[in-house]
């Protein structure tokens, strides 16, 4: 059905285009009377055609995607090109000339920027910057190498007579080399999207394709200028100027992008009242960054890339959730749409008799050299790079990296911009460029997947890892950080730590709204999500039961608040025991009134089944190491980042553990090294008083009851420990959070959730920093501290012991 519609549309277009010639005549007729309806084609011609083309391209995508068996084998980009051929053929047949082709203006100003903006905005920053050294190496050196060798080889072959009589000088060859050499981000994305190689490999190729624009622009402009100047006028000065211009173009472009990125972040800080059009800013400013860089003859692609890269974090924090989603989705729509149109037009542009000048030698040699030099270049560079990499890039990955050097529309666009006065063989070059593009996109694209499978390239981790793996990965992360700290190495973490400090101190304060900074507190996030989910489920439950009557039942209310990670429709106690077929024995006792609190697990872990989904639980709650986390880049797959800040918790916990073990050592109990065991049945109240000990942190910690890992805080903790307190911050007073102070079971009449609700919202004036840890400025215990008195006891007074816990 869709194909038929499509064909109809195609006929309409060709009909329209051929009609337009005749319509011109109509408008010159003398008006004899009032016409009730007129056909005003010329008025709407341009926008109509644009809209029509977009529609055609998108419909093509629709048709293609309805054959998943085909798209599994042949990448979508290749199919789109083929479709473009067909379309071009039809138009050619209708018009006998190619009325539509991919002009440089349209491509570079209307189709490319949004793709790059999307790439920058969705860039996995950590992965990118970790591998930046390698990426830069490939982008700069690799491109220069490919351009130079290709140009020289072709020139050499021409001199050797392999190509017949061609009038191309060395400079022109170098120019041609520079435009062919660049790996194209659009093509790379399109092909790698479907293959899902491991993230390091992907980021290398993709990052290279983005950053090599700096080099391409410079090379192209320099050689273009050289060609215009003519051979004899080139001397050392010009060459040096060329080299300098590289640095100017590359860094200048990046700086322009950064400036625009910061500008849009700053703007987003103040857009609270215009949330409805908040998303618009990034698009406008991103586009402006592209145009500004281009205006200053700097690298426009680099500019947009860095604009996206730098504003990601702040935009995602500052804007309302709906705006964030809007931005993501709209960007994907634009990027996808542009990509589709580009490929279709790449196909159409081929069906044009005027551009085809065929020279077998030239074409074949270009193809050959492009491939060969790419392989050689990649291998040499990787060999050198591996000396400096922690985990060397495997040989197989290098193969895929070389094979993944796809050329695309950028090369074609540059080729059409060649000056045809100076370059006699422009048509040949255009034609050859198209052939190279087709070869890489279609042939290499089609064979990429089987190649990857055959070579057993490590793929991106898609499968759900086992629990042990998850935990162990985290253990590894933490171990690495610890070892780096112990050995005093300045590794990646050091730089990253320093950057994080700088960023938090200066940039976040400047660029984030106060709410956003608040929300960086993970606990608050969890609480917020809990509330949201609660509200939704509340209503769902009410609807399910026919009315919200059950709400008025007090006990039901309290029990509803109980969250053990199971299905919310099973909240009522009478049905829960009956209906629950959960195998976990320990959950059968209904723990009461564990409430809507921040120390409960986030709702994202709830599932349809009654099992606690241990995987999700783990996923949500594992402390993230300081070295950071997985990221997936995909055109079609949008993920939400979660930012954590658990340093406080870890610190507190460690201090408590050390205290306890120290205390038990002092009391002659188990030796200091073993970890005291907390079991559910452990009724021992461990009260640890303040001593002036080395390992003491800021607070005394008393723990008790059946949830031993929850920490009660006592007021008046004030021990100076020179190791841990570099700056003399006043001790933050703490109070026992009420939901912990009483360890009584179901007897309490007031549900702690309600009490907790009373304590919220906390006011900024009472917010105290828990500990002057450099890394974090947020207190995880802000809720507890919200109502604490301003006065504090600083003296080393032993606090009264807490009330003994009741038996459970």
């Amino acid at each position: 059905m869709t194909s038929a519609h499509l064909l109809l549309l195609i006929c309409l277009i060709s009909g329209v285009t051929s009609v337009k010639g005749d319509v011109a005549l109509l408008h010159q007729e003398v008006i004899t009377g009032i016409s009730i309806v007129t056909f005003k084609w010329n008025h709407v011609k341009t926008p109509y055609l644009v809209a029509l083309w977009i529609l055609v391209a998108v419909l093509a995508k629709l048709v293609i995607e309805s054959f998943p068996s085909v798209t599994n084998v042949i990448p979508e980009s290749a199919l789109l090109i083929c479709f473009g051929w067909i379309l071009g053929g039809i138009i050619w047949a209708a018009d006998l000339q190619q009325t539509f082709s991919l002009t440089p203006t349209v491509f570079f100003y209307f189709l490319l920027p949004q793709i790059i903006l999307d790439a920058g905005y969705s860039m996995p920053n950590k992965l990118f910057f970790t591998n930046l050294g390698g990426i830069l190496l490939y982008a700069i050196l690799g491109t220069v190498w490919c351009a130079a060798t290709l140009g020289l080889s072709l020139w050499g072959c021409q001199a050797g007579g392999a190509m017949g009589a061609l009038d191309i000088g060395l400079l022109q060859y170098l120019l041609f080399g520079s435009l062919i050499a660049a790996v194209d981000p659009v093509a790379v994305l399109a092909v790698f999207e479907q293959v899902h190689v491991n993230e390091v490999l992907f980021i290398m190729v993709f990052g290279e394709s983005l950053l090599n624009d700096g080099v391409t622009v410079v090379l192209f402009n320099v050689f273009d200028a050289f060609v215009k100047l003519g051979g004899p006028r080139i001397n050392a000065v010009e060459i040096i100027k060329g080299i300098i211009s590289f640095f100017v173009v590359a860094f200048g472009g990046s700086l322009v992008g950064l400036a625009f990125g910061l500008l849009v972040s700053l703007l987003s800080k103040y857009t609270k009242n215009i949330q409805i059009i908040e998303p618009g800013f990034i698009f406008v400013l991103g586009y402006l960054s592209y145009l500004t860089a281009d205006m200053l003859s700097l690298s426009a692609i680099l500019s947009v890339t860095f604009c996206g890269v730098s504003c990601q974090k702040y935009l995602n924090s500052n804007m309302a959730e709906s705006s964030v989603n809007t931005v993501r989705y709209v960007m994907k729509v634009f990027a996808n749409g542009s990509e589709t149109i580009i490929f279709v037009f790449l196909g159409i542009s081929a069906i044009d008799k005027t551009i085809w000048v065929w020279n077998t030698g030239f074409v074949l040699l270009t193809l050959f050299f492009t491939l060969v030099y790419r392989f050689i270049g990649t291998f040499i560079q990787t060999w050198w790079l591996n000396q400096y990499r922690l985990v060397p890039i495997a040989f197989i990955d290098q193969l895929i990296m070389s094979y993944g050097g796809l050329r695309g529309a950028v090369a074609y666009g540059l080729a059409t911009m060649l000056d045809d006065q100076r370059i006699k063989e422009k048509k040949l070059m255009i034609g050859t460029t198209l052939i190279v593009v087709y070869f890489t996109v279609i042939l290499q694209g089609v064979t990429m997947k089987p190649f990857v499978t055959w070579l057993k390239v490590k793929r991106a981790a898609v499968a759900e890892v086992t629990l042990i793996e998850k935990v162990q990965n985290k253990v590894f992360e933490h171990s690495l950080v610890a070892i780096e700290d112990i050995s005093g190495q300045i590794g990646d973490n050091y730089l990253r730590g320093k950057w994080k400090i700088f960023e938090e101190k200066w940039m976040s304060r400047f660029l984030l709204t106060s709410e956003a900074r608040k929300k960086q507190d993970y606990i608050f996030n969890v609480f917020h999500q809990l509330n949201l989910k609660d509200a939704v489920d509340y209503v769902d439950e009410g609807e399910r039961r026919g009315s919200l009557e059950f709400v008025r039942n007090e006990s039901a209310f309290i029990n509803f608040k109980k969250k053990l990670g199971d299905e919310f429709s099973e909240v009522l106690p009478d049905i829960m025991a009956a209906a629950s077929d959960d195998p976990d024995a320990m959950r059968r006792d209904p723990v009461s009134s564990v409430s809507l609190q921040m120390h409960e697990k986030t709702m994202q872990g709830t599932r349809e089944t009654e099992d606690i989904d241990a995987h999700h639980l783990l996923q949500q709650h594992l402390y993230k190491g300081r070295k950071q986390h997985l990221h997936r880049y995909s055109r079609n797959h949008l993920d939400i980042n979660t930012d954590d800040n658990e340093v406080q918790e870890i610190f507190q916990r460690t201090m408590r553990n050390r205290l306890e073990s120290f205390k038990s050592a002092k009391m002659g109990l188990a030796p200091a090294k073993t970890i005291t065991k907390h079991t559910k049945k452990d009724q021992q109240q461990k009260v640890i008083f303040i001593y002036s000990i080395e390992y003491m942190g800021y607070y005394t910690i008393a723990s008790g009851g059946s949830f031993p890992f929850r920490v009660n805080y006592k007021a008046g903790a004030g021990i100076e420990n020179p190791t841990f307190m570099p700056d003399p911050d006043p001790m933050a007073p703490m109070q026992i959070p009420p939901w912990q102070a009483e360890d009584e079971p179901d007897g309490s009449t007031v549900s702690p959730s309600q009490r907790a609700q009373v304590r919220l919202p906390w006011t900024p004036t009472n917010l105290r920093r828990l500990a002057p840890l450099r890394i974090s400025t947020q207190s995880t215990d802000s809720f507890a501290q919200a109502d604490t008195p301003a006065s504090q006891e600083k003296d080393k007074k032993w606090p009264p012991p807490p009330p003994p816990p009741s038996d459970k």
Partner: protein, 164 residues
Amino acid sequence: MGFNGTSPLLDQRGELRPEDFGAIRELSMNPIGDRIISAFFSPGKETVDFASFVRILAHFHPTETSRSRDGVQPEPANSRTRKLKFAFQLYDQDRDGKISREELLQVLRTMLEMQVTEEQLQSIAERAIQEADLDQDDAISFDEFRKSLEKVDIDHKMSIRFLS
């Protein structure tokens, strides 16, 4: 190397004690910092000398796959097995060769945020043991540990470059 110069570990005695490790502030912000520290000390000993220190750190050297293995050479410290053994011992504090449920629970407790309730922890630990335990003895032996981690890229995850 950090031991004798650039790190905050001041040392004039030629050996380290646990308190010296404790002086590293970042370690107290690490959930398993204490376990790492205790991994440096052989069971029962209160000090670690330079040689042992280096030996432990050597576990984190990137694995060299190109090294030819002859039967005579003892297995290098940074081989995959040894790395895994090191990781195993982070769990297995009582060195009985098995990770019992209790030990796993302890590690989970330190690594998970405080929002997780005890029941949830128990169920995670139980699931984890179920997934990994092949001989149904309710504990994870080293072989089961290794088997469950065979898909993990240990090289990537447990290597630090030391001044090489």
